[in-house]
């Protein structure tokens, strides 16, 4: 659905994005992750035909964004980061205007606007000017205008920013639902959100894609530290000694380990050893109560920090 090849954009001397290539299939949600100024918005702007690339090609739904811009624009819904809206228009009037420009049949416009307003929770704001709305509601209007023509491709620049937690959950499930038969690219700085919604994640930094894969396999690839966290009730020295006897344990860290109270143990295993069952068995054999047992994988956050700060490529 979206094919990007060797896309480069320079602003004078400065590089916006540098040789980016990726593909997104139909029914897939791709998340852009990256620090500010990494090139996420630039990439989105090129895909939505707002600005041209310096070199490289991008095709959306089979149409080139430069050569066939009108056909691309017919098939996309775009929510820019700043959510630019006409503040002097009433909400439904604005949505009808967008629906008209997006070539919806005249007879369907009114019904469609009412439907989309209900979908994003704007029905009770129908008599308000956009300028009177709070940031969260403007965000919903922005989403509504992007969705109004049921586009094949949705490009959302930070779609959940400024929403309240309940609305965030609603919008996320809305996006997930839409993603079933559409192609979606979204950017976010909320890392759990990306791993929750997106089938694949592209980590962008300094204008380049540093990693692109599913959140799970990104985690898998980068699981350098193999640790298990356990909360065990028992005499700390005994527990520590017992855990130390497990083959393949490299290091044990004890927190709150005074007396017989519960203590938190962080056990580091050698690579390739599945730690949790071993820790559980040790606890049972020692007749200690096991309260918590957590294998510690790297979160997307850790991966992100690692890639961005250590400049490690795992493409």
């Amino acid at each position: 659905m979206i094919e990007v090849e060797h896309l480069t954009k320079t602003y004078g001397e400065a590089r916006g994005i540098n040789d980016i290539s990726f593909q997104v299939e139909k029914g897939e949600i791709l998340g852009f992750l990256g620090p500010n100024g990494a090139g996420k918005t630039t990439t989105m702007r090129i895909l939505t035909c707002f600005m041209p690339a310096t070199s490289g090609t991008a095709r959306v739904a089979g149409y080139d964004v430069f050569e066939d811009s009108l056909n691309v624009r017919r098939r996309i819904g775009y929510l820019p980061e700043t959510v630019p809206l006409y503040t002097d228009m009433l909400v439904p009037v604005y949505l009808r205007y967008v629906a008209g420009l997006k070539e919806l049949p005249y007879r369907e416009i009114k019904g469609k606007v009412a439907k989309i307003m209900e979908q994003v929770g704007l029905t009770h704001k129908a008599d308000k000017f956009i300028g009177e709305l709070s940031k969260g509601y403007r965000q919903r209007v922005g989403l509504a205008q992007a969705l109004i023509n049921d586009p094949d491709v949705l490009i959302l620049d930070e779609p959940t920013i400024g929403l309240d937690p309940k609305q965030i959950i609603e919008i996320r499930s809305l996006i997930r639902g839409l993603g079933k038969d559409r192609t979606i690219i979204l950017s976010s700085h909320i890392l759990p959100e990306v791993s929750m919604i997106c089938g694949r994640v592209a980590i962008i930094d300094e204008g380049r894609i540093k990693a692109i894969d599913t959140p799970e396999s990104l985690t898998e690839k980068l699981r350098v530290a193999n640790k298990v966290k356990a909360v065990i009730e028992g005499v700390a020295e005994d527990v520590k000694a017992a855990l130390g006897r497990i083959a393949g344990v490299n290091n044990i860290l004890v927190e709150n380990g005074d007396g017989v109270d519960r203590a938190k143990y962080t056990v580091e295993f050698a690579e390739g050893i599945n730690g949790p069952p071993l820790v559980a068995r040790t606890a049972i054999e020692g007749k200690w109560d096991l309260h918590e047992l957590t294998p510690m994988r790297m979160s997307l956050e850790d991966i992100f920090i690692q890639i961005v700060t250590e400049e490690k490529d795992i493409v």
Binding site: C49, F50, R73, R74, P84, L85, Y86, M89, V98, E103
Partner: protein
């Protein structure tokens, strides 16, 4: 065509909601109305004096309401247009650029030409409203005098053509900057130069004065004010309008390829 109408309607609505239309139309009506009152009242005084004093009548020649009231009235309308229309056109693209709504407009499936013509149409609609509000003054002349309707019709026709040129130029200026004040000043200056161009024609050489005359707005309006429609004047205004609409299109289009 559809997109053109949607944008036109949206523009008109924005002008009305943001009270720009209200202010511009009101001030236009007040200025032209005040001038009309003065000139019509002085015509009535002179006519009255001429009636009682035959020597006065010879001094002014034949007193003609069309020449004495209608023609200067159209002249002042064109001057007020020169001041007010840049206020109307300055926001058309500048505001969209400043607030970022341009980003969405350009990613909608709208051709550049449709966007520009929609904006142009929106300004023209408000401009028509302005002209319509000047019409009661003409009716007042009809009520008390006997104006020539041919001159009135060609006069309005000329004003519409001229207004189209002003608006096209204003929209172009607005498309090259994101600052509304810069857009307004640029279009006001450009219009003023074109308006005054033939003032110096008398002092210039023969060839130069012909060129200056031909380029100026006022020179081409002369015939309309006399009740004559000269195709060269019509073509001048139409070409002027088309030229600036063309430039606006290039200016908008350049956004898509300029790096």
């Amino acid at each position: 065509m559809r997109n053109f109408l949607f944008i036109l309607l949206k523009e008109v609505r924005s002008y009305i909601n943001s009270s720009v239309a209200f202010v511009v139309v009101t001030i236009f009506s007040v200025l032209t109305g005040y001038y009309f009152y003065n000139i019509f009242a002085s015509f009535s005084t002179i006519s009255f004096q001429a009636q009682t004093d035959p020597t006065m009548a010879t001094q002014y020649g034949a007193l003609n309401v069309t020449e004495f009231v209608i023609r200067p009235f159209f002249g002042i309308i064109s001057v007020v247009m020169l001041i007010m229309l840049p206020m109307l056109t300055m926001r058309s693209f500048s505001e969209e650029k400043k607030t970022g709504t341009m980003e969405l407009l350009l990613t909608f499936p709208v051709r550049d030409g449709e966007a520009i013509m929609g904006k142009f149409g929106g300004c023209m609609a408000i401009f028509f409203l302005m002209l319509t509000l000047s019409f009661p003054s003409i009716l007042l002349v009809e009520l008390f005098g006997d104006p020539e309707w041919g001159v009135i019709i060609t006069g309005y026709f000329g004003l519409i053509l001229m207004g189209g040129g002003f608006i096209a130029l204003g929209i172009f200026m607005s498309s090259i900057t994101e600052n509304q004040i810069v857009a307004a000043v640029l279009s006001f200056a450009a219009l003023l130069i074109l308006y005054m161009l033939n003032f110096t024609a008398g002092a210039a050489g023969e060839t130069m004065s012909a060129v200056l005359n031909y380029l100026s707005f006022t020179y081409h309006y002369r015939n309309f004010a006399k009740g004559v429609i000269d195709t060269s004047d019509v073509i001048y205004y139409l070409l002027f309008t088309l030229f600036f609409i063309f430039l606006s299109m290039r200016s908008l289009e350049s956004k898509r390829w300029r790096g």
